[in-house]
Each structure stands twice: as C-alpha cells, then as structure tokens.
Amino acid sequence: MGLTRRQFLKWAGVTGVGAVVFNGCRVPDHEIQVQSPVELPEDLVTGRDNYYATVAQVGAGSEGLLVRVMEGRAKKVEGNPDYPLNTGKHHIRAEAMLQATYHPDRIKSPMVRIAKGGPFRAIGWPDALDRLTKILADADPASVLIATAPVRGKLADVIKRFAKDYGAPSLGFDPIDQTILRTAIKKIYNQDALPDFDIARADFIMSFGADFLGTWIDPTHFMRGYGEFRQGEGRERGHLVQVDSRYSVTAAAADDWIYVHPGAEGLLALAIAHVIIKEGLGDANAARALTGGDINRLSRYQPSNVATEIGMSPTAITDLAHRFAGAHGRALAIGGGSAGAHTNGVFNLTAIYALNYLVGSVNVPGGVVFNPADHQSQITGAPVRDWKAALDAMRSGGTKVLLVRDANLVHGLSAQLKVTEALDNLDTIVSFSSFLDDTTARADLILPGHTPFEEWGSDTPDVGPGYRTVAFQQPVINRFRDTMAFGDVLIRAAAELGNAMPWGSMRDAVRAEARELHRTNRGSVTQPTFEEFWKRSLERGGWWDQGDTVSGTPIPPTLPRTPERAQIVGNPNSFPLHLVPFEGHGIGVGQYAHLPWAQSVPDPLTTVVWSTWVELNPKTAEHLKVKQDDVVTLESALGGFISVPVYVNPATPPAVAAVPIGQGHEQFTTYAAGRGSNVLDIVAQTEDTDTGSLAWAGTRVRLTKTNVRVGLPKLEGIEEARQLPGEPVIEVFKLGEGDRGHS
C-alpha cells in the first residue's frame, strides 16, 4: 500500500498540531526549577534582631547597655534593666556611640606619616605593629609617656601592667579631673573609692555645685535615684536645694536654688555646720569629733561673719542649717563640680561632706554609701600640675615618645600651656585613637583602636551602686573598620618586647577576671561550670554582689579652724564677670564633639545646639549694651580671649558669665572642627593647693562687644509661646527675702 502525497500531508498536519497542543500541556521549565542563588537574597533575610548586653564608660559614668543588632549592624542602644547603676535607662552619649562606629571620618586603617608634617599613608597591621615595636625597643622607656583618657576595668589593668613592665610612666587625662573630689572623700571618709549618693532614699538633699542631674559623674544613675526621690511609691516627695553659682539643670529642678559667690561653698557649709553644732541640732558624737571637742572651733564661720563673703544673708544661712538638720527623714549633702574647682577645692568639698556626719548620713541608706575599692582598677585623670610637668619634660627632651589614646591634650589643656609647642618637640607620637582629634592629627603613627561596641573589656564603676560590681564589655558587632583594640595592641607589643602578659588577648584577660568571680561562687551569677558562668554573666551584662559592701562609719576628722579662701584670678574692677565654665550636655568636655547626635542635644536650659555661647543676665547685658546673638569677646587677665555669641538668660546671676566647655576643636572630624570656641583657653591655670588640679571655676573675665551678630542655633523661639487663656502666670523662681545674690 503506497502512501499518497495527500495522506502524508494529512498525517504530518495532525502530528504537528498534536505536538503543539500537547506541548502546551507541559509544565513550564521555570516552574519545575528552583534556584539556589549564590548570595543570600532578600527573601532569605530573616529580619530578626538580637540584643547583646555590654557596658560603656559614658563620661565618668558606667552604663550597662543592650544593643540591638540586625544582620551584623548595631542599630539601637537601650539601657540594661539588670545593671544596678542605670537600671534600664541610658544617656544620649551612650546612644550617640553608635555614630562613632559608623562615623564617616573614622580612621579606617593604620596610618603612618611619611615625613614630619607630611600626609598620612595607610599601612597594614603587621607593618604598623612592627613599627610600634621598633619605636618602643629603640626608645629609653623612661622617655616614653603613655597618655590615656580615664579608663577603668581590665583595660586599665593592661595599660598599667604594660607601663610597669616596660618602664614608662602613664598619665590619665581629663580636662576637668575629679582628683579634688577623690582627695576630699579620702580625707573626710577615708575611702579610696567614690561613695554612692543614695538619692533615691534621701528625703532632703543639699547639693553644692554638683550638677548631678546634668553632667556630674554619672547623671543617668543619679536621675534614676532622683525619680524615686521625687515620686517614689510609698514615700513623701523629697526636697532638693541646689547651691550653685550657675543656674544648672539641677538648679532648675531644685525646690530652692541658692546662688553663692564662686569659691564660697565651703564657707557656707562650715557656717551651716557651725549653726548645727552650736544649737545642738546634729549628732553630738560627730559634732565633738568634727570640732575636736571645742564647741567654738567653728566660731569664725558664724553666719554673720561670713554672710557677705558667701553672698547670702545670715538669716538665710541659719534657716538653711535648720532645714538641713531638721529635715524629716534622711538629709544628704553632695558637693562637686564648680564647688570643688577652686584653689580651695579640697577645703570646700571636705566641709560639704562633713555635714553628712552631723545628720548621721554617712554609710547609711539615704546618705553617702561607701563602695568597696579592693578590686577596683582604673586610671583617673591626673591633676593639671602633673600635666604641666609632663609638658615641661617634652620641652626639655626628657620625654621623646608619646603614646596617646583618646587623651586630646591639644584641646583639653589650655592654649596658655603651649601644648602644641611641647608636642612638636617630641621625636614620635603614636596614637591609638579611633578619630583624628587635635592631638592625633599630630601623630607620626596611628594604630586606630576599636569603638566601644567592637571590643572586649570590663568596668568597675566609680561611682558604684554601694556594692562590688563588675560589668563586662563584649563586642556586639564585628569590627567595622580595619582597627584593633588598644588592649590587644599593648598585649602584642608587650610580647614582642619580651614582657609577655599572662593573657593572649583582651578577651583572655576579661575571661581571667570572670574566672576569679566564678570562683567566689556568690553574687548575681553563680553557675557550676565556668563556661556557664561566662555565658550567663555576658547575657546579664556583668556580675555584682550585693553582699560585698563596706560596713562601719569612720571617725570624722576635725574641721579647719580658719577658712581657706579661693583665689580668683582677675581684678574685679577690670574683669567684672565671674567665668563659670560648664560641661556640655551632649558633647561633654569635647570628647563627644565628633558625634552629630551629641552635638544636636539641646542644652536643657538654653536649647542651644552645635555652638558655644555665653549666658548673661539681662541686666548685665543691658549694662554692657549687648543683646541676644551679639558676638562678644571674653578676655581673662591672662591675655587670651574667645569670641562667642550672647544668650540672655534671666536666671544667670548678674556677676556671672557662663560658657559651655567642649567646642573649639581645630580637628576631630567635620562635625567638630572649626565649631565654636574653647573656653578652657581663657581659664586661668591656677591649681587647687592640695591636689594640683585645675581651679577651672576661678577666673574673672571682661566682655567686649563686637560688631558681629550671629543667629544662635536653638530650639527655643521656633514655636510661638502662648499663654493659656484664664490660666495664671506662674513665675519660675523668686528670690527669698533677704537674699541678694543675684538681685
């Protein structure tokens, strides 16, 4: 049977149509394939966050933090509710630390300067470490100075050990160091660690110059206590009196703000003590000890004798003494800040803290509560006297090499000390800072360190919560830039120099510390094995032992019979205004000036951001014929001057010119460089007679108007303020009868 042409075409057509039709029934290729792409695509991102506990030194405070981390990036900082000091809250500076890690101007890798004054060149870590080792091996250890910001915990141990084994001196740097306070505490309470101020359980607080709700030591911790003090459940509202030469945040929060002449805080405290002792209002044993049994020992401080010097009426002083001694519940006296920043700083603070003996508030709940100092490790800010000697050694050639980590000497020490000249005389400056600050900009070699969220460490807080506390700092993210932890660099360098430390890394060092805590088998974390203890204490952010406290009350020392007066630099006729520098709310004394979030924190009273300004009373401004936003020059008796705009504030005492510290950097990233003025440059370099610390509140200035005006960046005035109809106007403050301080 033959196949006809017609039949062939028919079959071919049917087959073709069938093939097309049935092919349509196939499952498309893309539906039976599923691809594993090379990289993790978005649809595999879990979007789940993790929180890691760590700790950070925030100013002088210690804050336990929980950092939210997503996909390896730190996103948000929260307070650690478990940590005994900040109990879930945190400071804006802690929040802003995120910006340090991801800062666009952060030093991205080790760098070396090709020639003195020349540009930097990026190098690798092996090369950088070799160079460091060579510098240290070639130098005479006695000619090497290690300068760091105040450091606590294991890093302080590592630095001290490195300095000791290598043979180099080490100095801590803080522009407004706490040596005067520490010395006073040692003198009056015989304590090596700063005590806790139990604000939460106090009923009447009299604070002298300590802006503890603003910037003093650990404001987050103190604010937690203050919340309880004012609005705690089951207690009466506490009463706060702030004695201050500036209207600070604490003064604004206080029930009474009392202006006293700068440097006269100690006189006021002793006048109060005199009234209490004379009238038999206080603890008789304490009164006997403080006066050495001579009831007339403090007669020179009789209110009528010292009232003019203090700037209060005798009646007001006596009244304050009665209120303090007769307070319902526990009374507490706190002193610090500008009250101690005078040539008679230790005298002032000793007198203030002696008041607590008279009302039985020493080492008891609601009073000052001692902290155990046995296990505390820290490098504190050295007095300016030591720094002057260090600069002399640089000039004379005694010091040839400077190792510096976050100690911005060029900004934090006054220009009068000619710091740059001293630094220029050095052979080599090696910086371990994470940013090109004013001092690091002069370095020859930079080995950039980690930021706090990238490194291992620990913290032994000072002020502590009244019992032994060790917080653990763990890296919550991997290092973001090609940096290395300062502690790790020192540990490696020590090994290269033949002084190997017992730990191979900072992590090992922290684990060794944790091992000791584990062996005590007590405290907030106890676990059968060390690894379980380590994990649990890292989860909680540390370890603390409420049973490890200091007991007993020391015998009070006798108070000075004769007053020690503050020496204020500048003739009152030529320099009529008293300069009161104060720490910036966000940027501190300048160490946070590179962080935009810290810069944009409005000053709580003036709402000014990103600037330096001078606060003047309206009457003073009127007298000097200056208005808000006028730029004026402030000049001290030493010849230096700064230019700043005026902020007219009715709460500023007429005799005071208050200026924030922290701005005026020449370097230190785009956000800080060339912004504002550095008030420290016009502060007289006088020292407290006992400690050699800078008497930074003891300068007089004069003010000259310029023809320049600038608009101060501030939140105030952006929105029109309107009085609610029918509501009475409530005055913010009112002078007491007889007070004439700032009338």
């Binding site: 039976i32 594993s36 792409p37 090379v38 990289e39 695509p41 879990t46």
Partner: protein, 191 residues
C-alpha cells in the same frame, strides 16, 4: 490450521491483548490523574538533580535541622532552598570539601558549586513537590501547628534522592485537614 481457525484463535488473543493494554494504560492514566503514577519503570523515583545532594549525610549523619537550610519554612509561604553562600558556611575554606567523605563522588559533587575560576555558581534544582497554580500552599501555619516536615515529605532524612511520597492531591489535603480539625473552606487554599 486453516484461516478460519487462525482467525478464531487470534481475534480473542488480540482482543484480550488490546483490552489488557488499554486497561493498563487506562489504569496508569487514571492513577496518575487521581493520585500518583504507579512506582514502576522509574516513575516513582525522584528527579536527577544537578548536584547529587544526599539528605542522609546532612540530616541523619551531620544532624542538621531541616530549618537550618529551609530557613523560612516556619515563617513564610515557601520553605525556600538555601543560597549557595549558605552551603559555603560549612563547605568553604577547605573545612568540608568532600575529600574526607566515604563517598567517591562527594568531592566531585561539591566541586560543581564552583566554576573553573573557583567562583560559586547558582544551582538550578528540579522541583520535586509541586501543587497546581490554583492552590495556595503556605508552609508556615503547618509548621507552627506542629505538622512535621515528614508528614508530607516522608522520611527525607533517609533519602539519597528526594522523591515524592504522597500524592498531594486535593483529597489528600482535605482528608488531613479534616483529621486535624483544620479549616476546609474552599478559600483556605483557593484564593
């Protein structure tokens, strides 16, 4: 045997044969239509994948949880297959390169993850389990309600080559939903 006799014998034989073939083909077609193809002639076997990935080695021997690779199974619609980068969590840096395996082919299979230049390459797996387009199957609620992976996918942990063990037809789904008091509204799956 004359022609008539031959015809008388052959017609029933051919007829029965044709009927048998039609019955077998019909059974095959209907079984495939209503359920799964009968597991003969390789019809029940899983497809040959571009890389012979042994679940036995990873799940049974290495003890890796299903969700380590199928990361979104408890949170999303699709269980998802892992990215090659995830394979390299373990198989990169010379840590597990197959050379220590008992299998002769492990190193060869792992090498398929990379091109000649050593760069990881995407893998186009052949889908084993599939429901029609008009069915919306969401993994997450099943896992969240305690349905084990093995309920639908069988003992994958012991499969050298993954194959489909349940027919995953509508009746299968509905029966299981009824047994477990899960919703059986049409819109549960068809929306």
């Amino acid at each position: 045997m004359n022609n008539n006799t031959l015809i008388k014998v052959m017609v029933p034989v051919v007829g029965l044969s044709v009927a048998l073939v039609v019955a077998v083909v019909g059974y095959f077609v209907l079984q495939s239509w209503w359920s799964s193809p009968p597991a003969v002639l390789g019809f029940g076997d899983g497809p040959t994948q571009p890389i012979a990935f042994p679940h036995t080695t990873h799940v049974t021997e290495a003890g890796i949880d299903c969700q380590f690779c199928h990361r979104k199974v408890s949170t999303d619609e699709a269980a998802t297959v892992p990215a090659v980068a995830q394979c390299l969590f373990c198989h990169d840096f010379g840590k597990i390169d197959g050379t220590r395996s008992d299998s002769d082919t492990a190193a060869v299979e792992l090498a398929k993850l990379f091109d000649e230049g050593g760069n990881p390459q995407p893998v186009n797996w052949i889908r084993v389990h599939r429901v029609p387009d008009h069915v919306q199957f969401v993994h997450a609620p099943h896992i969240q309600n305690g349905v084990s992976c093995t309920t639908c996918h069988g003992d994958v942990a012991n499969m050298e080559v993954v194959e489909q063990v349940r027919n995953l037809k509508m009746r299968d789904c509905v029966d299981c939903h009824r047994d477990n008091n899960a919703p059986t509204d049409c819109t549960t799956c068809h929306y």
